[in-house]
Amino acid sequence: MKKILYSLIAGSLLFSSCEDMDFIQPDPQDRITIDIALGDLNGVEAVLNSAYNRLINQNYYGQRMMIAPDVLADNLVVGNNTGRYLGEQVNQVRSHISIWDDPANPNGAGFSVRSSYSAYRAINDANIVIAYAAELSSEDADRAASLEGQAKFIRALSYHDLLRVYSYEPGREVSGWDAGVVMRTEPVLGASGADLRERGTNLEGYQQVESDLLSAISLLPNEADVAEAPNRLTKAAAQALLARVYLYWGRYGDALTQAQAALAGTSASLIDGTVDTDGNGTDDYYDSWAEVNHPESIFELAISIVDWNSVDGVNASMCSITNTNAGYAGAIGAVRASAELIAAHEAGDVRANLWVQTSTNFYESRKWRGELGDYRENIPLIRYSEVLLTAAEAKARTSDTAGALSDLNTFRASRGLAAVNESGDALINAILKERRLELVTEGHRFFDLKRLGMNIVKPASTGAGTINSSDFRILAPLNPDYLSINDVVSDNPEY
């Protein structure tokens, strides 16, 4: 019996000696704590790099944000049936762009979302940079300002993208639905920061975007001082984005001011597509799309070889989605031009050369040629052409017909088209037509129709008729899984 007692005493000693077992210390080699990670500007810049990289995800500007707006509108239809964009081409209920949360495959088939992605993830990265960069400005004031400016641009871009997908533009509300998106401008650094929030109004969203971009304009260096431009953000890029935001907002005068500032501040210039400088048999416009950075780019996202796993190229790249095997070996050719888009080209339009007919009614784009290998290429986000057409539209809408015509005809000439002499609605329609033809597969068409409250006349081959601008399907739905977690947020009408 004594022995039992001894054992118990020995046992209790054993247990008391390991009260908190602090000899067990996790020693991770693959991570560092927040104070080390954000202790200097290098660390802050690493978070900014992550934010940039989120933009190239194939659910965002890597593919869907570029292609879906054309399929949801009238530019592109499904090419080969790979399961991709089948719902989008007929504006099927719930087939839309999904950048709010980490979406499941929007339509079940084929498209794989590689890493968890949402615009809000980029926003949180940006929020971290914005919160920490200024504190470290004693280390290098210029660098801190630039980091903060870049982060503010990325935050503004992400919020504007959320707003144009999920909300009506201020002044374009249908039945008074003015919900914006959930706004967060402080970084979430712990679970407690992830409180449940309702959406702000669309106007509040636009005001936040405007204020971020105005701040970015003052913080960002001129393009001439940015060695990595156009792959890195500059003052001109922020002005160009702000011009786009004002255009959506209907603040045409402000849009013009910013557009002109951007055009003046960039070294990018309009390509003359009517010449074949290198004498290779294809015009300079066609050739421009094979350059690593497009000569018109004010901001262009760089994709590195390490950004993709081995199947991202064939599965989800711009190149593979838009070309068939005839354009790039192995490409899947999920989308092709609608007959209406092809018909919209006037004789002599150099852009028609980018549409190659590979079988009956099958015109595929050669804009995205995977010139970096394995379907890879950089993604132009803001081009000189867009800003010039923004300026033209802003002038036309602020009654500067002569100025608008001048910009429009400068642009048309560069694309091999004769000058026009329109005014009023016809002038605006001529400008919108140029936007349609020029910016196809760059993520604009659906949003241009939406911001102007125009109906979508679907390509005849889809059999989907006309989608009225007041149709609830114009706004994207929130994901049901997200709604069950955030139960204070409102979904868009009729979902």
């Binding site: 991770p28 927040i34 080969n80 990265d125 929020n127 712990g190 409180d195 390490v306 070996a329 050719g333």
Partner: protein
């Protein structure tokens, strides 16, 4: 001093008694009349004894006045025979139905089965004998109540999933596996193919497997015991004999079932119809699929036939030598097993070496070591996903009008009609070529070894020190040669992935046991344990090779990607167990263990786990003496709190940044949200059991009622996505598993050498989420309070509208819809957790002949068959379709469940297979009963063995998975149910195969 005195006295008495002795001799035989060597023959109440020789004969000196001889042998019922005046006593021993004195391995020790208060299932070497199961977990299938074993993959050597008493955890449900004291890793170790580290143990080397199912049995393992514990003990040498055992078996594997897909003619017809219905030109469909009216426009081809092999060979050769002296015993075995899978290239090969040594330095000091060395080579297949390069997807989906080979035997470009039609079906991937030419191979080298010292200073005290390691080094290679068109652009790609896993544990225990005043037995065990696991991985990918034959990374012109990781965790624990029994009638025990784990934050690192158990052998009571038909009656009770720390990352408690992404060559870093409050999952487990034996144990049964409430679930809780984070690991919610387990063993017939025994087990299981974080009732559509953890969500299929051929579903409000269902329209379609499962084994034996027939079943579960997304789209897709889709709606008035064929599948703005929520059309009842095992064996009779001088010769034949009864629409309900439960994709699973083998086993 007292002992010496006693000993002298004893010697004296013995010497005295010896003066008046005589001899008894005889032969011991078993029921079939065969002689039994090695039977213990002991004069009751003395230490006088002997064992029978090779011919079953014994000779023993006994006192003049006689006494009682006790004959005992494992597997046979112990017999006591009064000597009387006889000098020759022949004994025929009957087989033991349920031996209460059988020794059962428990945590850090062993116990008589009679004395156990917990719930323990036991599987012996007979059940594993000569069955071509590559790993022991497979052999557990259907054998033990409450233990659900499902193949995670039917690939040879593939992984399995073992769940003890349901799904208690949202993070990890794997039990703790202990092999000869080594706590081994059961998760995948290599990067290619389905691999199972437990296949490192050759099942033929296993002596016994114990499954600890309740708190009383498992609490000694504290932190890792919530999911139960599986203890594997390998065979060891026996003293004073040398056995050489050789066995060989061979056979083949065939698919259990294949999808029945359309012929080229049938597909051409339905495709033309789908183009017409969608208002598209049939010129296109005719160009792609051929003109159904002109059979010369297409070449029929059978992809399924080209891919699947209905006679994939398997073979196994094994050799074992064991024996030794009283001091030193050994067991050495080697084996080589090869098995091909049911599809091209799929193969598995294991070479195994085992050496177990025992040495008795003195009566007080014993050493033993166990060591197993294994290499596994796995040529894997792409499974569990809707991949165009997965044979289980693409083989069925490939268009049957496009051949795999050209006329001169080269691989044909897929689809053969491609250049004319721009149809990049399956990304132009010729699946037969892909499977042939892509190398997906894993090599695993594993060592599981332990060493143990047992010191017994005095009879009552045992000190045991054990160290064990489970080491794995694996190399996985994926080569994608440029000859496959999809990889031509890369000019070849080679991925090499190397992993090194070191996993060790050491423990020291001191045990004390003593019986006081004859009636009070007490034992106490005190111990401490350390465990650590480190995992290191390095991978590299190279592209652009000068020649397809050059495949080393060094030959790559383009280094493409590198990867690497290192992670580790530690656990330390101290424990005490005390047991008491009164007259082998009343038992009580208690266990306490404190564990610390490096995965948790400093304040929550330590967890306390405990259990109490009691049992009452009513049969021992005097008032039971008159109840002659009852052989055993025992009540058991246990309650305890056990832990789980698995299924989460090693550093979830440390808020931190990790390298992630890059931009313009600048490294990126990303914040990972951490939860420093993270702590153990805690499982409160109650068990009430009843053991009964009737008619000399011809009928014996155990019935257990259990309830496990597992709280503090380690769960990745979704965060509101607008925070920029998807989720965070937290301790949330509680899950209840409760049920009844019944094991019933009967001897149905035992007449003149013919014997029929049955072993039946059934488990009724109820799984329910009791609570969720923040008092939520639901988390998305994945967890709902009051529902099982794995349900299927969606809208029920209502068939096809006869007027227009469009599919309809029923929403939550009971309305018929064409699609566009939101989450508020969905509801639970079924549960993926079987409510009933078990096994039923029968053995028929006559003389040396034995027939085993074993069924395994799971009932009450539904499964979602994702394959139907591809194969049941009524011809609206480019994929080949199930032949049953021919029953599609064609004209108004047609009543069918198969919707209209409509190219693209989108009719009137709604897709015909995505109603917005889960499609009830693809849900089916996955209950099944499977004839898991039939084996027929014949042991040569002793008379023949004597002539040929062998100890035993056995020939046998086995059939596995011979018949499956199920209504499941897919190929294999077992693997799909497992995948549904573990979250793996139900697309393109690798189904289990049928196996037929025959072999011989000789011992001399």
């Amino acid at each position: 001093m007292k002992r010496i005195l006693l000993l002298s006295l004893f010697s004296f008495v013995v010497a005295f008694v010896a003066t008046a002795q005589r001899t008894v001799s005889g032969t011991v035989t078993d029921e079939s009349g065969e002689t039994v060597p090695g039977v213990n023959v002991v004069l009751k109440g003395t230490t006088t004894g002997t064992t029978t020789d090779l011919d079953g004969k014994y000779r023993l000196s006994v006192p003049e006045e006689g006494g009682t001889l006790v004959f005992s042998f494992i597997g046979l019922a112990t017999q006591e025979v009064e000597i009387g005046a006889r000098s020759v006593i022949e004994v025929r021993m009957g087989s033991d139905v349920q031996q209460l004195t059988e020794v059962v391995v428990i945590g850090y020790g062993s116990e008589m089965k009679r004395d156990i208060t917990g719930s323990i299932s036991n599987v012996g070497s007979e059940e594993l004998q000569n069955i071509p199961s590559q790993s022991f977990d497979r052999a557990l299938q259907g054998r033990a109540a409450g233990v659900q074993v499902q193949a995670a993959s039917g690939a040879p050597g593939g992984a399995l999933n073992v769940q003890i008493r349901g799904i208690g955890s949202l993070s990890d449900n794997q039990p703790l596996y202990i092999v000869d004291g080594v706590q081994v890793r059961s998760n995948e170790i290599a990067g290619q193919g389905s691999n199972n580290p437990l296949a490192a143990i050759n099942p033929q080397d296993i002596e016994s497997i114990e499954i600890l199912k309740d708190a009383a049995a498992a609490a000694i393992y504290g932190a890792q015991s919530a999911n139960g514990v599986v203890i594997v003990t390998t065979k060891r040498g026996k003293a004073n004999t040398t056995d050489v055992e050789l066995s060989y078996q061979f056979g083949y594997t065939a698919p259990v079932k294949l999808y029945d897909v359309m012929s080229a003619q049938e597909l051409a017809e339905i495709k033309r119809e789908s183009y017409i219905n969608a208002g598209l030109s049939t010129d296109i469909s005719d160009a792609i699929f051929g003109n159904p009216e002109d059979p010369s426009s297409f070449t029929p081809y059978d992809w399924v036939d080209a891919m699947f092999n209905d006679s994939a060979p398997l073979s196994s050769i094994q050799a074992k030598v064991s024996g030794g002296s009283e001091q030193t015993r050994f067991m050495i075995s080697i084996s080589d097993e090869k098995q091909d899978g049911q599809i091209l290239k799929s193969t598995w090969n294991r070479k195994n070496f085992r050496m177990n040594l025992d040495h008795k330095a003195s009566d007080k000091l014993k050493f033993s070591t166990s060591m197993g060395l294994t290499t596994q080579r796995i040529f894997g297949s792409i499974t569990n996903g809707n991949f165009v390069n997965s044979p289980f997807v693409a083989t069925y989906a490939a268009q049957p009008n496009s051949p795999a080979y050209t006329a001169d035997g080269e691989f044909e470009f897929y689809p053969a009609h491609f250049p004319n039609t721009s149809a990049g079906h399956l990304f132009n991937y010729n699946i037969v070529q892909g499977v042939f030419e892509e190398r997906r191979e894993a090599f695993a080298r594993q060592a599981i070894a332990s060493a143990q010292v047992v010191y017994t200073p005095i009879e009552q005290i045992t000190v045991t020190i054990l160290g064990g390691a489970d080491v794995a080094n694996t190399e996985s290679i994926n080569e994608r040669p440029p000859t496959i068109p999809a990889f031509a652009a890369l000019n070849g790609q080679v991925l090499s992935d190397n992993r090194a896993i070191l996993n060790w544990n050491s423990s020291a225990t001191i045990g004390y046991s003593e019986t006081f005043a004859d009636d009070h037995s007490v034992s106490v065990l005190l111990g401490a344990e350390l465990k650590e696991e480190t995992f290191k991985q390095t991978s590299a990918t190279g592209r652009n090779f000068p020649n397809p034959a050059l495949r080393l990374l060094n030959d790559a012109a383009t280094p493409f990607a590198v990867g690497g990781t290192y992670t580790e965790w530690q656990r330390a624990g101290a424990f005490v167990r005390a047991s008491y029994n009164f007259k082998q009638k009343l038992y009580a025990n208690g266990t306490f263990r404190r564990d610390g784990h490096s995965r948790f934050g400093a304040q929550n690192r330590v967890g306390d786990f405990w259990s109490v158990g009691a049992s009452y052998r009513i049969i021992e009571e005097s008032f039971m003496q008159g109840v002659g038909f009852l052989e055993d009656l025992k009540l058991r009770f246990s309650y305890g709190v056990l832990g789980n720390a698995n299924g989460i990352g090693n550093y979830e408690a440390i808020s931190s940044f990790q390298g992630s992404r890059q931009y313009l060559g600048g490294a990126g870093q990303e914040l990972t949200l951490a939860n420093d409050q993270l702590t153990w999952e805690e499982s409160k487990q109650t068990n009430i059991g009843l053991d009964l034996g009737f008619f000399k144990n011809r009928i014996s049964t155990s019935i257990d009622f259990f309830r496990n409430d597992t709280g503090n679930q380690l769960f990745s809780v979704p965060l509101t996505d607008d925070s920029g984070f998807g989720n965070i690991t937290s301790n949330v919610g509680e899950i209840r598993n409760q049920g009844i387990e019944i094991e019933l063993n009967t001897v149905n017939l035992d007449i003149s050498g013919f014997k029929w025994t049955s072993s039946f087990n059934i488990t009724f299981l109820e799984n329910e989420v009791l609570s969720l974080p923040n008092d939520q009732d639901t988390i998305g559509t994945s967890l709902i309070v009051g529902q099982p953890v794995n349900f299927l969500w969606g809208v029920d299929y209502a068939g096809v509208n006869p007027a227009n051929g469009r599919p309809m579903w029923i929403n939550r409000a009971g309305e018929y819809i064409y699609g566009g269902a939101s989450v508020n329209d969905g509801y639970i379609l079924g549960s993926q957790i079987p409510t009933t499962f078990g096994g039923f084994a029968n053995t028929f034996s006559y003389k040396g002949l034995a027939l085993d027939v074993m069924f395994q079943y799971q009932l009450g579960a539904d499964a979602f068959n994702s394959d139907l997304y591809n194969l049941a789209y009524s011809g609206s897709t480019s994929d080949n379709q199930l032949r049953s889709e021919l029953d599609r709606w064609q004209q108004p008035g047609d009543v069918t469940n198969v919707p209209i064929a409509y190219e693209g599948g989108s009719v009137g703005g709604f897709d015909t297979q995505f109603p917005g929520q889960g499609n009830g059309r693809y849900v089916s009842d996955a209950s099944y009963i499977r004839l898991k095992q039939i084996s027929l064996s014949y042991n040569l009779p002793q008379t023949v063995l004597d002539v040929i001088k062998m100890k035993s010769v056995r020939v046998f034949a086995n059939a596995t998975n011979l018949v499956t009864w199920t209504n499941y629409t897919g190929v294999d309900p077992e693997v799909v149910l497992n995948n549904n439960q573990t979250g793996a994709s139900a697309y393109g699973v690798y189904p289990v195969g049928k196996q037929f083998t025959a072999g011989i086993n000789v011992k001399f």
